[in-house]
């Protein structure tokens, strides 16, 4: 029974360390983000008052564009929706050959793409194949949308 308790203490310690790390970093990051957003706001506000439109220039033609690329175990196809020249939405249509957990990890790229308005974001470490598939499919779709 002794080794059982040693292991329990070890496991509790590991989980505790991970949890503390998570908490500390998320507090730190949220402060950081507030500062970053504030800076962004100050930068953008004068522009908004000038032309009444959003700051990013229109880069793409409006419409819905599809793209397809090789993922881990087959093709990944998706649809990119452009509204007002901006990437408004990205919908995965099919990803039959992908492994569930890996693909959902790779899907985390999509919010970043929407935020940065560019498919050039870092791939998700550990899910490189699926990430590359999503990225290449987005690039293909955006290629059709054409940069103005």
């Amino acid at each position: 029974m002794r080794s059982f308790w040693i292991r329990t203490v070890n496991l509790a310690a590991i989980v505790g360390i991970l949890f503390t790390y998570h908490m500390v970093l998320s507090i730190y990051n949220s402060k950081d983000q507030v500062a970053r957003l504030q800076a962004e706001l100050e930068r953008v506000e004068p522009k908004l008052q000038n032309d009444g439109r959003r700051s990013a220039p229109a880069e793409y033609q409006d419409g819905v564009y599809s793209g397809e690329a090789e993922g881990f175990g087959g093709p990944i196809s998706l649809e990119v929706t452009i509204t007002d020249g901006r990437i408004a939405d990205i919908q995965i249509l099919s990803a039959e050959g992908e492994d569930g957990a890996y693909f959902s990890m790779a899907e985390n790229m999509i919010p970043t793409v929407l935020e940065r308005q560019s498919p050039e974001v870092d791939t998700i470490s550990g899910a490189t194949f699926s990430s590359n598939g999503i990225r290449n499919a987005m690039k293909q779709a955006l290629g059709k949308a054409g940069e103005k």
Partner: protein, 295 residues
């Protein structure tokens, strides 16, 4: 109700082997990436911490946590029944045994059984998985792992399994995979016992005594050791009263069925003689976890 021990040893062994093979095949077909996903959880956590990035409840971490919890409750059942890599090894080893028994080309020097490693060597080889786990953890922490992942035999295996044959950057992994499969072919569960880093992580967990097997030593036939000889993990079963777990046990239940006296039972003595029920319950729980997490 007829109990398992009312059958002959031969019938029991056959029944057990079929049940296990069926579960393994089903898991190989439906959840083949479970083992790499759980390990990706470990790698994800260490990579993020090493880079000073935030850690989140990602699908990898969820699978890792679920499998660890399952292992704490039921022992390394995942290793014995659901791991695609272990199952592939079992299939290859089965093929090897079949060829040894039936083919004249492979059978040399009238050897009908695979060679055994000396006990002393098995003991220090058993420490290798922990070394590999520690090495991979350090490589992830220092951020090197992502650049050398072409070395991973698991990645090569996963790619082949998914029908992805763009193996250019994965030649080293492919060679390692070949060596590992050859090893698994010659010695049952060679990889799982002496190399697997995920297994090392599982065997560091505290396992509740529900599933841990023990034996009534005083009822044993002197000098029998059928259980020890049938064990793919090379475990000498402890006395059942002691409640000390054998952390290397994959829960394959071979010993239970091979014992001529029915002396071996798990932490729930009420189901003694019908341990196969426990196997089915564990399979159902594990399948539920996999479906829920959409592996």
């Amino acid at each position: 109700m007829k109990k398992m021990r009312d059958f002959t040893i031969k019938e029991r062994k056959k029944f057990q082997a079929w049940i296990r093979a069926l579960i393994q095949l089903a898991c190989f077909i439906f959840f083949p990436s479970a083992f790499t996903t759980a390990f990706a959880g470990i790698k994800y956590l260490l990579t993020q911490i090493g880079a000073g990035e935030e850690i989140a409840w990602t699908p990898f971490v969820a699978v890792l946590a679920a499998l660890c919890l399952f292992t704490i409750l039921f022992g390394r059942f995942f290793c014995g029944f659901a791991c695609a890599f272990g199952s592939l090894g079992d299939a290859l080893h089965g093929l090897y045994l079949y060829l040894l028994a039936n083919s004249k080309i492979i059978r040399r020097r009238s050897r009908k059984k695979p060679r055994k490693l000396p006990k002393s060597r098995e003991k220090w080889l058993g420490a290798v998985p922990y070394i590999i786990l520690a090495a991979i953890v350090l490589l992830c922490f220092s951020g090197i792992w992502d650049r050398i992942s072409g070395l991973s035999p698991w990645e090569a295996f996963s790619m082949l399994r998914a029908g992805n044959f763009k193996l250019k950057g994965h030649l080293a992994g492919l060679c390692l995979l070949g060596i590992l499969l050859a090893g698994m072919c010659m010695k049952e569960r060679f990889f799982c016992r002496f190399l697997c880093p995920m297994g090392a992580a599982f065997s560091l967990l505290p396992v509740l005594p529900l599933s841990s097997l023990g034996r009534d030593r005083e009822r044993c036939i002197p000098g029998c050791s059928a259980c020890s000889r049938s064990c793919p993990a090379g475990i000498e079963l402890p006395e059942s009263g002691k409640k000390e777990n054998a952390y290397g046990c994959f829960q394959c239940q071979k010993c239970v069925n091979v014992c001529p006296k029915g002396n071996i039972y798990c932490g729930i003595p009420q189901i003694r003689g019908n341990e196969v029920l426990a196997t089915l319950v564990k399979t159902a729980v594990l399948a539920g976890i996999f479906l829920w997490l959409d592996i």
